[in-house]
């Protein structure tokens, strides 16, 4: 009896094994990635969450101390420098990404009209997008150099010497716009690329139909083309929003947050708190506030994108 049962099990095993293995393989294939990701993304997230309720100043040498939600109170209610950094970042996101989108759409429409050499022009335009932001910052430092930079030379020549040796990065009223210029320079072609991809997947008949119905160029653009492009534009703006919110490299290379704090972005201020002042708990709380803001905005974008997405694009 026992022997027979054993034999039956033995005979049945291969089939069960195959089924089980086929269910196991997909899980096994995910496993390495899951382990790595848990270690490098999930762990820092939980660790940071834990840090937010601690007072931990590496500079003083005192051991970490539980202080409840005090770090969050400090971020939200007692730190004007945090809100200054948020405001600067807000300007860079709203005006900077706005400019990138507007110019990007304009250039994409022009590129789409080009009959020959479109690919070549596009790949040349995309060079700024591909290079490291730190290098882009370095390039702008040379362009904006007050004494020897080509921009001031151009202004000098155009105004017959009336504007001469202007210190762009030292003027508190201008420095933030200089940082924005570098970011707009680097990322406008990205929006062009995205919008052009959208334009090329538009059905041509729609535009022709609009024209037959008597829609003139600007009308067709506003009523037909732009609404159809909206889903792609929203994705592009979302990607740019998330990156601009973290803007750090260009600030570090161009202004170091100065003069004063006028170009201090939220990423830069968080870096100072964490790695110059070594306030670990406070930095973690600040990082969490940022994460919440980004998540909410991204969700709004994604909802909106889902609502406007109606065709084959994106």
């Amino acid at each position: 009896m026992v022997v027979r049962l054993g034999r039956e099990v033995a005979r049945a095993r291969p089939r069960i094994e195959t089924v089980r293995r086929s269910r196991r393989t997909p899980v096994l294939m995910v496993l390495p990635a899951a382990v790595v990701l848990a270690a490098i993304t999930l762990f820092p997230l939980l660790f940071t969450l834990r840090l937010t309720v601690l007072s931990w100043e590496l500079t003083t040498g005192f051991p970490p101390r539980f202080i409840g939600l005090q770090n969050f109170v400090r971020v939200l209610a007692q730190d004007p420098r945090f809100w200054n950094a948020m405001a600067n970042t807000g300007v860079l996101v709203a005006v900077g990404v706005g400019l990138q989108t507007a110019i990007g759409i304009g250039l994409a429409l022009e590129l789409n009209r080009l009959r020959r050499g479109r690919t070549l022009v596009l790949s040349l335009l995309l060079i700024p997008v591909m290079i490291a932001p730190v290098i882009a910052g370095f390039q702008f430092r040379m362009i904006l150099n007050d004494q020897y930079g080509p921009l001031n030379y151009l202004l000098d020549a155009l105004t017959f010497g009336r504007v001469h040796g202007y210190a762009w990065l030292a003027d508190p009223g201008v420095a933030l716009w200089a940082v924005m210029a570098a970011d707009v320079w680097q990322w406008t072609p990205f929006m062009t690329l995205v919008v052009l991809a959208g334009l090329q997947s538009l059905p041509g008949e729609l535009l022709e139909a609009a024209e037959v119905d008597g829609a003139t160029g600007p009308q067709a653009l506003r009523r037909v083309t732009l609404p159809l492009l909206l889903p792609v534009i929203v994705i592009g703006v979302l990607v740019r929003f998330m990156d601009t919110f973290k803007l750090f490299d260009i600030v570090y290379q161009l202004t170091g947050g100065g003069p004063g704090n006028v170009t201090e972005t939220i990423a830069y201020y968080t870096y100072l708190q964490g790695f110059k002042f070594f306030s670990l708990g406070y930095t973690a709380a600040m990082a969490f506030v940022q994460l919440v803001v980004i998540t909410i905005v991204a969700q709004v974008f994604l909802r909106y994108q889902k609502r406007v997405r109606g065709g084959a694009i994106a």
């Binding site: 997008v129 730190v134 990607v239 973690a284």
Partner: protein, 279 residues
């Protein structure tokens, strides 16, 4: 086909020409500066075309500064870090992407998780990683940067490759499995060769992301490891800035980027929008 007036076409040409000048001039200026001697840089009106295109600045930049191995060290470290992170991301990411694409392991949450790794402020992941690396004596090593770059690269690779696998008809792999191949065999011998171009593009993108990375390199390294993105700003910080040499390092640092911009053309939309727009 709509007909366009010559005036309209001229306007298109002029707008695009202006755009090319605007977007390429800063890069061109860096290239020109990399050939200038110091007096040529400190000249007014500025020198546009340097007298000689000798490689002096490049040769000096690759050796300098006297206390270190300079630009060449940057090239080496940037290569090791970028290649390392690319390899880990592709090796761990490709099977995972296949599993997600064909068996829906993990369901819908995956997409948001991938996006959220892009959203998480890098300073926030840097803080715990810094403490861990410090405890493990990994600060100022290539490993620290390889791991840190994988935070973004691995989800990116999974997400992009998942899209490429989904574009593939499943019939071929199903046939292979019926013929007795294992699921892993179908992945490795059938699906993987078919997505080879997409796989290469994805890998190169992850390489470039690590190549361009700055903040982790700034926080986790000091002297043993110095990527190119660290060397350039550190050279601009000093008292006497050798602009020509810094520009030379900058030019070396953007060579792979320009090559890949041309090479990856077909995949740029997809890669840069994190797979959201297929182009």
């Amino acid at each position: 086909m709509r007909r366009r007036s010559p005036a309209r076409r001229l306007a298109t040409g002029l707008v695009l020409l202006a755009a090319l000048v605007f977007f390429l001039f800063p890069v061109l200026w860096m290239v020109l500066t990399s050939f200038k001697s110091n007096p040529e840089f400190f000249a007014y009106p500025p020198v546009f075309i340097p007298k000689s295109f000798a490689l002096t600045n490049y040769l000096n930049a690759m050796r300098m500064p006297p206390d270190g191995r300079g630009g060449l060290q940057g090239v080496r470290d940037s290569l090791i870090v970028s290649a390392g992170s690319m390899l880990i991301s592709v090796l761990a990411g490709a099977p995972a992407a296949y599993s997600f694409a064909r068996f829906r392991t993990g369901g819908e949450n995956l997409s948001f998780w991938v996006l959220s790794t892009r959203m998480f402020p890098p300073v926030a992941s840097a803080l715990p990683l810094f403490l861990v690396f410090k405890a493990l004596h990994l600060l100022d090593t290539h490993w620290a940067l390889i791991v840190a770059n994988t935070i973004f690269n691995l989800p990116f690779v999974i997400w992009l490759l998942k899209g490429f696998f989904e574009d593939l008809p499943a019939e071929l792999e199903e046939a292979a499995v019926i013929d007795g191949t294992t699921i892993f065999g179908a992945f490795r011998r059938v699906a993987l060769p078919l997505v080879a171009p997409g796989l290469a593009a994805t890998a190169l993108f992850s390489f470039i992301f690590a190549w361009n990375e700055f903040m982790f390199a700034l926080l986790f390294t000091r002297s043993d490891v110095r990527t190119l993105t660290i060397i350039v700003p550190s050279l601009v910080g000093g008292h006497e800035i050798l602009w020509g040499q810094v520009a030379a390092v900058g030019v070396v640092a953007i060579i792979p980027n320009i090559l890949l911009a041309l090479l990856l053309q077909r995949y740029l939309v997809r890669g840069l929008t994190l797979g959201a727009v297929k182009g």
